[in-house]
């Protein structure tokens, strides 16, 4: 009997050693360790042998069973491991192939700059207002103290439409429209499209402006400087210097042109800033008393400032775009860079 147990054990171990897959292993497990296996039958037949020998043989059978079960378990781990290794090998990829998915969309650079500017002013406490793009001469010119036949009216080359109206040449008409309807305090920005009869590398007949104005009882030129300096530093970088130069606009007095240190040369002088170290970014000033009179505000009681900037120009400076028409050609290879 002892010999029989030994042989069974050997047979099982050699069967296990040669196994190549989990299914075969299962067969071997059934053959050697199930209730109906020879080994288990031997265990059942213990009753037939002498009581003296019983413990010894019983121990042998159990030992054989344990050895076989250990071998089965080892073989199972080995096979599982092998299976995983080969599965991994089979799943090997060229990790450098392109990724999957749809191309993402892009905001137009004008929208990006416009949105950035709007958000800065909203944080500073301004509200957004809008006005029509087809305007009357009154809102676009006369209401802004730009008188007919004055050379200053030539500062804007105007496109006219049927019915004596015109395409607004700036967002400034929104000032008049808001002031006619509401009373101070007012802190307003007016973003939008504007039109001029111009076409060259830096002028497009369609472009975008952001207008802003603030009216209250004690608004000063110093407040104008404070607001615009803060805006330009948030827009172009906190380290940037800002300067204010006297200028002329019919609807502001005093008027100021506002420059920021050149984004390319940091003020040292380069081609972009025409060696001046400064970039002209916006026009501004204290709202002219004549404008207030037109909207029936008392210029002795209220004062205010106004400013306007070209969004296209800022986008061009920010991204180093040398021709404004790139913004309106909408070549996808251009737009996808933003």
């Amino acid at each position: 009997m002892e010999e029989q147990i030994r042989q069974l054990k050997e047979a099982a171990l050699s069967a296990i050693a040669g196994i190549k897959d989990l299914a075969a292993l299962e067969e071997v497990r059934i053959r050697f360790t199930s209730k109906k296996s020879e080994l288990m039958e031997l265990l059942k037949s213990l009753a037939t042998i002498s009581p003296e020998e019983r413990p010894k043989v019983g121990a042998l059978v159990n030992e054989a069973k344990q050895v076989i079960e250990q071998a089965l378990s080892d073989a199972k781990s080995r096979l599982q491991n092998e299976a995983q290794v080969s599965k991994i090998a089979a799943e090997k990829l060229d990790v450098s192939m392109p990724g999957k998915g749809i191309r993402r969309g892009h905001y137009h650079p004008i929208s990006q700059v416009m949105e950035e500017a709007k958000q800065i002013f909203i944080r500073l406490g301004f509200e957004i207002a809008e006005g029509p793009e087809i305007e009357s001469e009154y809102y676009n010119f006369d209401g802004l103290n730009i008188l007919p036949h004055h050379p200053s009216r030539d500062m804007w080359s105007t496109l006219f439409v049927d019915g004596g109206k015109l395409l607004r040449t700036h967002t400034s008409p929104v000032q008049i429209r808001v002031m006619e309807k509401r009373k101070p305090p007012l802190a307003i920005i007016a973003p939008g499209r504007v039109y001029r009869r111009d076409y060259d590398a830096t002028h497009s007949p369609v472009f975008h402006q952001l207008e802003g104005f603030l009216v209250d009882t004690k608004v000063t030129f110093a407040d104008l400087k404070g607001t615009l300096t803060e805006f330009l530093r948030q827009m172009f970088g906190q380290e940037k210097n800002v300067r204010f130069r006297p200028s002329y606009f019919p609807f502001t007095e005093p008027s100021a042109e506002v420059d920021v240190e050149c984004v390319m040369c940091q003020g040292k002088g380069c081609r972009l800033c025409k060696e001046t170290g400064w970039l002209e970014i916006l026009g501004s000033g204290m709202i002219d008393p004549n404008v207030f009179k037109g909207v029936k505000y008392d210029p002795e009681k209220f004062s205010g400032y106004a400013f306007g900037m070209g969004i296209d120009r800022i986008a061009m400076l920010k991204y180093g775009i040398d021709n404004i028409h790139h913004l309106y050609e909408n070549d996808l290879r251009f737009l996808e860079q933003f």
Binding site: G99, K100, G101, I102, R103, R104, G105, Y107, H108, I110, S111, E115, F126, E127, I128, E130, P132, E133, H149, P151, S152, L159, F160, V161, D162, A187, Y195, R197, Y199, P205, V206, K218, V219, T220, F221, A222, D223, K225, G226, T227, T229, R243, F244, R245, P246, S247, Y248, E253, P254, A256, M286, P289, S303, Y328, E329, N330, D331, L332, R333, E336
Partner: protein
């Protein structure tokens, strides 16, 4: 305007070098650059009539540096003959010509100018002509007063008449061009003919020529508005018209005439300037006194300029100031009458000479109640965000298109707004829709081998009724990042994008109907009532634009879309009870739309059917999945089976589907 530094130095002494001078002038309000050695280019703002001369610049330098202008003597010897023997002047329109002065100079020899004069004119960009014309140009640049010299022998009856032009009369100006005049233009004439367009340019008929012996020299003040109008109508912008339209200085009219006469006499031998001068005056400008409240300066500027400094600045600028308590009575010099009218104008003068840079920035109060929120602007942002997130790239096209765009895109021209002075025909009509602009963008990209285009634009469109915000989109080619991923956009891809748009805006996906519209390929596009269209672009339009790939588009009225956006959105509780799923496979009769099937199932399902959607489709066979759930209890198998039977029954009898 060109300013040679040596010329400037004849009028004022200063120490700054050219770069320093340019920067000082720029920060004072006259943008100045150094264009060549010792030559400045100054950009003169439209309000600064006083700055259009070397002397104007000298005054500016004086105000900025505190150096004084040099005193210059007039060295003019007159002859014995009286000017009245040489010319008679009659001004018929004294409103348009409030001052007309003339001198007569005899024994003039017309020669080349001396070298110094030629060079000086060349430096400011003027071609030398002869010693007389050059002197008039020299004085114009130095003092800002245009002058004109006529050959006296060519003036009929020695008579000068300032009058309105005869309508339709034709003249040939000194540049050799013929112009037809209108009766609201002012001319200088003699007894029989027009000899100059007042303030703009002289005529060839009385031009100074080599044979000229006697000249009549004109110096005048013309109405700026009239000159501006005439200059625009005739399309002549001369050195003279620029100065007259901004407004010349009343006092300099005389000074310039005298200096020119003196210089002409100085340049030739035996020249005789006749005694006296003609001076026909209409309404003389009044002295202008402005009250400046010194406290007001600080209230506007937000910085304190000491009263002593205010006084000094105003004096340097040529204002006469009388102190009266806390106010100044300020008298405006004649050369600033065009732009200094009010207290605020004086405050600007103070600020710019004091220096904008010296005003310390402060922050205004911007916290106040009742601010308005621009909801449409916010929603437009949101639409942008959703569409960019869905893989669409934003474009910006011109708001004006051309008649060809209307024709190619089959848009009606009827209510379009036309530009009366367009730059080009292609940009002569305001767009009534976004789509034509997008199609042009597709053409532009296709011509540059960019085949896939998935774009949108948000913009204003214009029609007879006014301005509306519109949303347009155009999709063609592959939406994928890599070419390894196959597939191109199609109707359902587009619809998916739009469904996401609606969902993200909180709008229930509106009912669609098959679109009948020239833009849409029949059977492959849909319409949403009052909102717009989407689908496959009609092949006719695709061909009109010579686009090679099929395109899918959408265009919606944004104002109408935003009306559907709920003001507030509330949370829907997560279901507490389990759902039961049942599928129905059926053959769909032709023309029966998915949206009707779903609508009918939802209707007949009552509160038990939570959701229905198609999940499998092969030819005319579609499988729908029904999600049964009750919000307050677990459904029993029997309940679901009963309801499901009802629905199947309804589908077969009412919608005539055949269950598979």
């Amino acid at each position: 305007m060109r300013v040679p530094i040596d010329w400037l130095k004849e009028l004022i002494i200063f120490r700054s070098g050219p770069d320093q001078l340019a920067s000082m002038l720029s920060l004072g309000g006259l943008e100045t650059t150094v264009v060549a050695e010792d030559l400045l280019e100054v950009d003169i703002l439209p309000n600064r009539a006083d700055a259009w001369s070397i002397r104007g610049m000298a005054r500016e330098v004086s105000a900025l540096t505190k150096f004084k202008l040099k005193e210059r003597k007039l060295n003019l010897k007159e002859g014995h003959k009286k000017v009245s023997s040489g010319v008679k002047v009659e001004v018929r329109d004294k409103m348009s010509c409030p001052r007309y002065m003339a001198r007569v100079i005899e024994n003039v020899k017309i020669l080349d100018s001396p070298e110094w004069l030629k060079k000086r004119l060349e430096r400011v960009g003027i071609r030398s002509i002869n010693n007389v014309v050059d002197v008039t140009n020299y004085i114009l640049h130095e003092l800002g007063q245009p002058l004109h010299a006529f050959d006296a022998s060519l003036i009929t009856e020695q008579k000068i008449i300032v009058r309105r032009a005869n309508p339709g009369e034709k003249v040939v100006t000194l540049d050799g061009k013929e112009h037809e005049l209108k009766d609201d233009m002012l001319v200088i004439a003699d007894a029989e003919k027009t000899i100059a367009v007042a303030g703009i340019m002289g005529c060839v008929n009385t031009e100074v020529r080599p044979t000229t012996k006697t000249i009549i020299l004109e110096s005048a003040f013309f109405d700026p508005i009239l000159i501006h109008k005439t200059s625009k109508l005739l399309k002549i912008r001369s050195e003279s018209s620029i100065r007259f339209e901004h407004g010349v200085d009343w006092v300099t009219v005389e000074e310039a005439l005298d200096r020119a006469a003196a210089l002409i006499a100085e340049l030739g031998r035996g020249v005789e300037v006749l005694r006296g001068k003609i001076d026909v005056v209409g309404k003389e400008p009044k002295l202008r006194l402005i009250e400046l409240r010194t406290e007001r300066v600080g209230q506007i500027l937000g910085t304190e300029i000491p009263v002593g400094d205010m006084l000094s600045i105003l004096n340097r600028l040529g204002f006469l100031v009388k102190k009266e308590g806390k106010s100044f009575k300020v008298q405006v010099p004649t050369y600033r009458l065009m732009d200094i009218e009010r207290e605020i104008d004086l405050i600007e003068e103070l600020a710019r000479i004091w220096g904008y840079g010296r005003v310390e920035p402060t922050m205004p109060r911007t916290a106040y109640a009742d601010k308005e929120v621009d909801l449409p602007d916010k929603l437009r942002q949101k639409v942008q965000e959703i569409l960019v997130g869905a893989g669409l790239t934003e474009v910006q096209s011109y708001s004006m298109i051309g008649p060809k765009d209307f024709e190619k895109s089959k848009l009606l021209l009827d209510h379009a707004v036309k530009i009366t002075n367009p730059l080009t025909v292609e940009g002569s009509i305001m767009r009534t829709k976004i789509l034509p602009g997008l199609l042009n963008i597709a053409v532009h990209n296709q011509n540059r081998q960019v085949e896939s285009l998935i774009v949108f634009e948000i913009g204003i469109v214009f029609d007879g009724k006014g301005e509306r915000w519109s949303l347009g989109g155009l999709l063609t080619g592959s939406p994928f990042m890599s070419a390894i991923d196959k597939g191109e956009v199609d109707y359902y891809y587009l619809k998916g994008v739009l469904e996401n748009l609606f969902r993200d805006l909180g709008i229930q996906i509106p009912k669609v109907s098959e679109a009948k519209h020239p833009w849409v390929q029949p059977g492959k596009g849909a319409e949403i009532e009052d909102l717009g269209l989407f689908g496959a672009l009609h092949p006719d339009i695709q061909h009109n634009y010579e686009l090679t790939k099929p395109l899918f588009f959408f265009e919606f009225d944004l104002d109408s879309l935003f009306k559907l956006v709920p003001k507030a959105r509330s949370y829907r509780p997560i279901p507490k009870f389990p759902s039961v799923t049942r599928d129905i496979s059926m053959f769909i009769p032709t023309g029966l739309e998915n949206q009707l099937i779903i609508e009918q199932i939802i209707k007949s399902g009552g509160e038990l059917v939570e959701e229905v959607f198609p999940f499998d489709k092969y030819k005319d066979s579609v499988a729908y999945r029904l999600i049964y759930r009750h919000p307050e209890r677990t459904l029993t198998e029997d309940e679901v089976n009963k309801k499901h039977q009802e629905i199947v029954q309804m589908l077969t009898t009412k919608l005539m589907v055949r269950i598979r």
